[in-house]
């Protein structure tokens, strides 16, 4: 090993005075960083080198590495450091990394966690994942190739995720004879791009991961013209984000209420900003009630002060309502709460974004239903141009407005990562489909208030002597929904009940005549019908709706709009063959002939209800029998 590795030489201290070494290690801080680069920029080699130089590789691992190098290696007789970090068997065979891997090493001053992410364009989501927890990013550039499209893409992404410290590591300097002009040219190119992307600052270092130049110590004899820090020295001295977070106002999302007995009621959470002391005035957001901090209770005794980044349990002086999802904040400077906001999002799922559909949104410890509007624009991460878009596909980035089913507490991402970053979860697949960074709340949400009315929902329904309900008929075209719904309404009328039937075809002549049959339009169709049904139920009516409503997610969305028990899903379970054989309106024939696109059951899916409240069919029952059965299931009507 050369003298360049000196900053890693801790063996002597370990051997001579282990307690002194441990004391030093115990007081180390932690820096999390991400490495990004294109496929052959030598990223894995660099990380392998860092691990190797910091003695994180043991002899048995080295032996395995040597045998692996002979088998899959690309470095001939030399050790292929890349094999050390390319974890999963499949990707090792392909010679590429395809996921986020986390690595650990330590120097005398700091401990490091490295998120190693792949360079391919299609794996943007992994890079965003790795960047979300990083304080710093190392952007690798091959000195022979200079700044590439992917270099720009990666830089933009880490900037988007709010990483303030950027290192431009110009790698493989050994392959360009350590040519200063080459290095300067790349730095100049990158500087121009950085300015355009809004990146304020970056540090450029000429390195060779393979040979070890300017990795652990500078100056290095191969680059006498370079006077800056070596990569490790730079990583050891960069200012940490968690100290900056302590300078903001206090915020703690409540994760869990700790109630071991009647005398103790503690609010547990990870402090997302600022500091807190007993006696501090706090406000519970969104409710707005204030109280004072009584104690900060921990296993190791009560604390005098706690700071951003610590997990604590707080007790308050007053009995205020506070539970998971609330944020305890500085009373004088609470974060805002709103049900509409604008956000940048990164789409991470194979299934494209569906404007209008309800997704779970998780932010801090809050979980709400959110619907997203069609994107205002998509961002071309290579040119930074704004493109028109109707949806966002896997790995695309855009800006869109969101509305939530109840107000959530947040801050802009720029101000606070913990209260500004959220994930979207698909309600059926449960996959994490997107990551969002809130830009700002929408003014209209703050200015449009609910108008309280004197005659309430309950007054309306008791005047009509009935409990409002929405009987939601769903099934294939031609399954008999309208016929049965019509029969149910006739029978209810005979029982002196106040009803209204919303029929699919009729609504499309008026309220929804601007909508077509694409998936997005179908979602909007159901959303509007849901809102109308809800208003009618508020007026005390028994509403019957007859729409194909093919997607579970939208039926679920309507269910969630109504009070518990008022949404009754009636599945008209007529098999496709039967409906198609009947073909009352001749639509199946047209769809089969290709004259009609997006026809449910033919070239558009129907997602049958899994547990409908009522299930009928028109094979074993006549419409009258089906209607009688349905009414028997919803008795009593009051």
């Amino acid at each position: 090993m050369s003298v360049q590795d000196s900053s890693f030489q801790m063996d002597s201290l370990i051997a001579e005075d282990i307690d002194a070494y441990l004391d030093q290690h115990q007081h180390k801080s932690l820096l999390r960083f991400i490495t990004c680069g294109s496929v052959d920029d030598g990223k894995s080699t660099l990380i392998g080198r860092l691990l190797y130089d910091s003695k994180m590789i043991f002899e048995d691992q080295l032996a395995a590495l040597q045998s692996d190098s002979a088998k899959h290696g690309t470095q001939g007789e030399e050790i292929d450091f890349a094999l050390l970090v390319d974890g999963l068997a499949a990707e090792r065979e392909q010679g590429i990394t395809i996921d986020v891997a986390y690595r650990f090493f330590t120097t005398e001053k700091r401990k490091f966690i490295v998120a190693d992410t792949p360079g391919h364009e299609q794996y943007t989501r992994n890079m965003v994942t790795g960047a979300s927890t990083a304080d710093l990013a190392v952007i690798l550039v091959d000195a022979r190739k200079g700044v590439l499209k992917q270099t720009r893409r990666h830089s933009y992404l880490v900037h988007l995720l709010g990483i303030k410290h950027l290192v431009l590591a110009v790698n493989k300097m050994d392959l360009v004879d350590y040519d200063q002009r080459k290095f300067d040219e790349i730095v100049r190119d990158y500087g121009e791009f950085a300015k355009e992307a809004g990146i304020e600052d970056f540090t450029a270092i000429p390195i060779s991961g393979f040979k070890g130049d300017n990795i652990t110590a500078a100056p290095c004899s191969n680059t006498p013209w370079y006077h800056g820090h070596a990569l490790i020295e730079h990583l050891e001295t960069v200012k940490l984000a968690n100290t900056a977070a302590q300078e903001r106002s206090f915020r703690m999302p409540v994760q869990w209420v700790n109630r071991p007995n009647l005398d103790f009621r503690g609010f547990a959470g990870l402090i997302a900003g600022g500091t807190v002391k007993p006696g501090d005035m706090v406000r519970i957001v969104p409710a707005g009630k204030t109280s004072t901090v009584k104690t900060i209770s921990t296993f190791d005794g009560d604390m005098d002060e706690a700071v951003a980044g610590q997990s604590v349990t707080i007790t308050l002086a007053d009995e205020v309502d506070c539970s998971r999802g609330d944020v305890i904040a500085a009373a004088g400077d609470p974060p805002e709460a709103s049900d509409q906001f604008c956000s940048t999002i990164v789409w991470m799922d194979e299934t494209a974004m569906k404007p209008g559909r309800g997704y779970w949104l998780k932010l801090g410890s809050q979980m709400v239903t959110a619907t997203v509007q069609p994107p205002k624009y998509e961002i071309d991460v290579n040119s930074l141009d704004h493109l028109a878009a109707k949806t966002l596909e896997l790995n695309s980035i855009g800006v869109a407005e969101f509305s939530t089913d109840r107000p959530i507490t947040f801050e802009s991402y720029e101000k606070n990562r913990e209260l500004g970053g959220f994930i979207l979860i698909d309600k059926f697949s449960n996959a994490t489909v997107a990551a969002g960074m809130i830009d700002f709340s929408l003014r209209r949400a703050q200015n449009v208030h609910w108008q309280p009315t004197t005659i309430t929902r309950d007054d309306h329904s008791s005047l009509k002597n009935q409990r409002p309900r929405v009987l939601w008929f769903t099934g294939l075209s031609g399954s008999g929904k309208s016929t049965i719904a019509n029969e149910v309404e006739k029978q209810l009328a005979l029982m002196n009940r106040h009803t209204f039937l919303l029929d699919g075809d009729n609504v499309r002549h008026g309220l929804n005549k601007d909508l077509g049959f694409t998936e997005t339009d179908r979602i909007e169709n159901i959303r509007r019908i849901g809102e109308v049904s809800k208003l009618m139920a508020d007026a005390g009516l028994i509403v019957l709706t007859a729409f194909i409503s093919p997607f579970r997610a939208e039926r679920q969305m309507v269910r969630e709009m109504l009070p518990d028990g008022e949404f009754i899903e009636v599945f008209v379970d007529t098999p496709l063959e039967v409906a198609e054989a009947r073909d009352v309106k001749g639509l199946y024939k047209k769809a089969r002939d290709g004259e009609l696109k997006n026809f449910t059951g033919i070239d558009s899916p129907y997602e049958a209800p899994e547990t409908p409240e009522i299930r009928v069919n028109t094979v074993d029952m006549t419409p009258v029998e089906a209607a009688e059965y349905i009414i028997s299931q919803i008795l009593p009507l009051k």
């Binding site: 290690h25 940490l240 980044g309 994490t432």
Partner: protein, 300 residues
């Protein structure tokens, strides 16, 4: 303003993870192997919910060939902290002729560890299980999420992991899926030892060196923990000062000769060691991606 140390940050992160699971899962459990990582996890769980006790039971998968000292430590700990303990074990091993001497290591770990674990998780309907996996242990683990999903048959699909951003964990699961949660994912072996020393966490004495009856076999030093140990021809028991870096079934776990009798000396030895932690485990030998294969089958 104060600079948090790396251990303070790791501790805060682990506590946050414990609380998220308890807030969102219906029926969590902690896999308690009684080893050093489990001891740190238990300590973190006690901190996370203090003054309440950890609101979930401990599940120990016993192979029947566990070190006596480990079982004693387990029972003592459970009693001292008032924890609920569930022991999962393959009761039919003897009948099936399975033992660590005659059975191949793959079949043995399947029958004695993987299967009883899966059975216990299914029987009790646990939907989230805390495990002590660390990303620095092995290449396959380096890519695993903190919240790692298992199919109904407890298999892991490394190609289909959910992205995990910030400290937001998606705990929504599909029917019959369960979650393995790794609260100490970001800790290294050194962090674990240092934390044990700092927090004075009580660990199984097997980690500390002492004179023990040993036998040398296939390049490993095995400790004769009870009279079921079968000596082969030419083998004899020798008293040696040994300790363990990792604990498994005693006839399969190699000890190292050592004079480390306290925590500082253990850490010193570890830092100066030339072999990785898992070197002492017969189960991990074989093809280099073998941990990944085992995880796909449901081994923790």
């Amino acid at each position: 303003m104060r600079n948090l140390t790396h251990l303070e940050r790791l501790e805060a992160e682990s506590i946050h993870i414990f609380r998220e699971v308890v807030a969102e899962a219906e029926n969590p459990v902690m896999l308690y192997s009684v080893g050093k990582d489990s001891s740190v996890m238990l300590h973190l769980a006690r901190k996370a919910f203090y003054p309440s006790p950890p609101p979930f039971p401990m599940l120990h998968v016993a192979s029947g060939w566990d070190f006596q000292a480990l079982l004693e430590h387990r029972d003592k700990t459970v009693k001292e902290y008032g924890l609920e303990l569930i022991v999962a074990q393959n009761e039919d091993a003897e009948e099936q002729g399975i033992n660590p001497f005659d059975t191949g290591s793959a079949l043995y770990s399947q029958a004695q560890l993987t299967d009883p674990l899966k059975r216990a998780l299914t029987e009790h309907g646990f939907d989230a299980a805390f495990g002590g996996g660390r990303r620095d242990e092995e290449k396959a683990r380096a890519k695993e999420r903190v919240f790692s999903f298992r199919t109904a048959s407890h298999r892991w699909d490394p190609k289909n992991q959910r992205p995990e951003l910030w400290n937001l964990y998606n705990a929504k699961k599909n029917k019959a899926e369960s979650i393995r949660v790794f609260p100490i994912s970001n800790w290294t072996e050194l962090d674990i030892w240092q934390y044990i020393a700092l927090e004075k966490i009580d660990i199984v004495p097997l980690y500390l060196s002492q004179k023990r009856p040993t036998v040398e076999r296939d390049g490993m030093l095995l400790v004769v923990d009870d009279d079921r140990f079968r000596l082969e021809e030419g083998e004899e028991t020798v008293e040696r000062s040994v300790r363990f870096r990792t604990l498994g079934c005693y006839p399969l776990t190699g000890a190292t000769e050592s004079d480390a009798t306290d925590m500082s000396l253990i850490i010193q030895e570890m830092l100066l060691a030339t072999g990785s932690e898992r070197e002492g485990r017969a189960i991990d030998k074989g093809q280099s991606a073998s941990m990944e294969d085992k995880k796909q089958e449901g081994y923790f």
